[in-house]
């Protein structure tokens, strides 16, 4: 039997059947957590963001516009929460971090921190958050240009130019990694 789609679950939730919210958690907890993790590169911060995203989604479910995809709405909250956290963190930590380490904070408790993956993650953290968001959503969350436009609230043309620019920067940062 196929799972009910998001619109059906949202409608049930709004009718008062709050138990269906657990299905949203099962469906989206992992992708939301990974999107947040790639945005902020910190396991605990990604956990906090994921929690905030679902709590906000719960509180604001009435404001969700079913014309859009539900996951786009969740991803938008995730990106905004990540950008907010990065802004707060930037003022407090970035100055010290740049002076002392000149590298992003390492992620905690992740088992596969080796080789090119680490280089790619470090390169991602050197991008502007707006550029990082578009690359992560495209390459890791598998969003289309249209999804990206909806999530980031920018025209598709801007999505493309931002994505192309982000890739140019990543190619520069990872120039040693490509085989001729």
């Amino acid at each position: 039997m196929s799972e009910p789609d998001d619109a059906v679950l949202v409608a049930k939730c709004l009718e008062g059947d709050t138990s269906v919210f657990e299905q949203f958690l099962e469906r989206y907890q992992r992708p939301i957590f990974n999107l947040a993790l790639r945005m902020v590169e910190d396991y605990e911060d990604a956990r906090d963001i994921t929690q905030t995203v679902f709590v906000k989604a719960w509180e604001r479910l009435e404001t969700y516009d079913p014309k859009h995809k539900f996951f786009s709405w969740l991803y938008r909250i995730t990106v905004n929460e990540s950008l907010n956290l990065l802004k707060r963190r930037r003022r407090v930590l970035e100055g010290v971090q740049q002076l002392l380490f000149n590298s992003p904070r390492p992620a905690r408790a992740e088992p596969h921190d080796e080789g090119q993956s680490v280089k790619l993650r470090n390169a991602l953290m050197k991008l502007k958050p707006e550029h990082r968001a578009v690359v992560v959503l495209k390459h890791l969350s598998g969003c289309s240009y249209r999804d990206l436009s909806e999530i980031l609230d920018i025209p598709e043309k801007t999505v493309k130019s931002r994505l192309f620019e982000a890739r140019r920067m990543l190619r520069d940062l990872l120039s040693g990694e490509f085989k001729p």
Binding site: F33, N34, Y43, T52, W58, R88, H139, F164
Partner: protein, 259 residues
């Protein structure tokens, strides 16, 4: 080194993103077979795209789902939360919106003045609760006030509390070197949150529960918190400034007597 035409540059990126139509893919293949720079760029972007496949998904913390559900269950009903947000949005207006509200209030005041005069002369002046809105803040400003200071490790500031018969205005001027959590605890039977206004445009995470207000703070901000208050006695409010859950400051402030 050969140049890459703009149209094909876009098609290369779209091909990597899986957004090309079959016709566009065919056109691109023909182009890169005859243009070395285009071919090299396409291959580099393919490798870059392949690098992302090496990034493995990370499992969220095992207790995260439970923690979210528990958080949600401990919150007010979604509709209640919506009302709080509406109230907050009403009060958290930028200066120009206040100006519009003030102008509208003046016009409304002029229109209603004859009626108010009539009611006053008839010794049946309307209660303050009926005048909530443009005039309410003015009335609060005329009320009695309590002043205090906030001082903790890395946190300084001042607090002023004013009240009328039905409203309480808490003005907080806080400076903190670090991102902290502000907490105001109050008696839910006597005080009810109406709105929060901040001086800056720093994003804050704000939460209103029946007996407690919490929000994130960093740097210097001036806050105005408006609460509806009952006329029974004058309970104190309790204020905390927390850093990662640890208190940097804790204090109680008595509420002024109603005027």
């Amino acid at each position: 080194m050969t140049m890459i035409e703009k149209r094909y540059l876009e098609l290369i990126h779209k091909e990597i993103d899986g957004e090309n139509s079959p016709e566009e893919t065919t056109a691109l293949r023909g182009y890169i077979s005859s243009n070395q720079s285009a071919r090299e760029l396409f291959e580099e972007l393919q490798q870059l795209s392949g690098l992302f496949n090496q990034l493995e998904e990370t499992a969220p913390p095992e207790d995260l789902g439970k923690s979210i559900l528990s958080d949600i269950q401990g919150r007010p009903d979604r509709r209640t939360a919506e009302v709080f947000r509406l109230e907050r949005a009403t009060v958290k207006m930028s200066a120009w919106k206040w100006a519009y509200a003030f102008a509208a209030g003046l016009i409304l005041g002029a229109l209603l003045a004859p009626l108010a005069l009539h009611l006053w002369q008839g010794n049946s002046s309307p209660g303050f609760s009926q005048l909530l809105g443009t005039l309410s803040r003015k009335d609060v400003l005329r009320g009695a006030a309590v002043n205090g200071s906030v001082k903790g490790e890395g946190v300084t500031g001042g607090i002023q509390i004013k009240r009328s018969n039905t409203l309480l205005l808490i003005e907080l001027d806080i400076t903190s070197r670090q991102p902290v959590e502000m907490v105001i605890q109050h008696d839910a039977n006597r005080l009810r949150f109406k709105g929060l206004e901040q001086s800056g445009d720093e994003a804050l995470y704000f939460q209103s529960l029946p007996e407690q207000l919490t929000w994130t703070h960093q740097g210097h901000e001036h806050y105005r918190i408006l609460m509806a208050c009952s006329n029974q006695g004058a309970p104190a409010i309790r204020m905390k400034v927390l850093l990662s859950g640890n208190p940097l400051y804790e204090g109680s402030f008595p509420l002024p007597m109603s005027p």
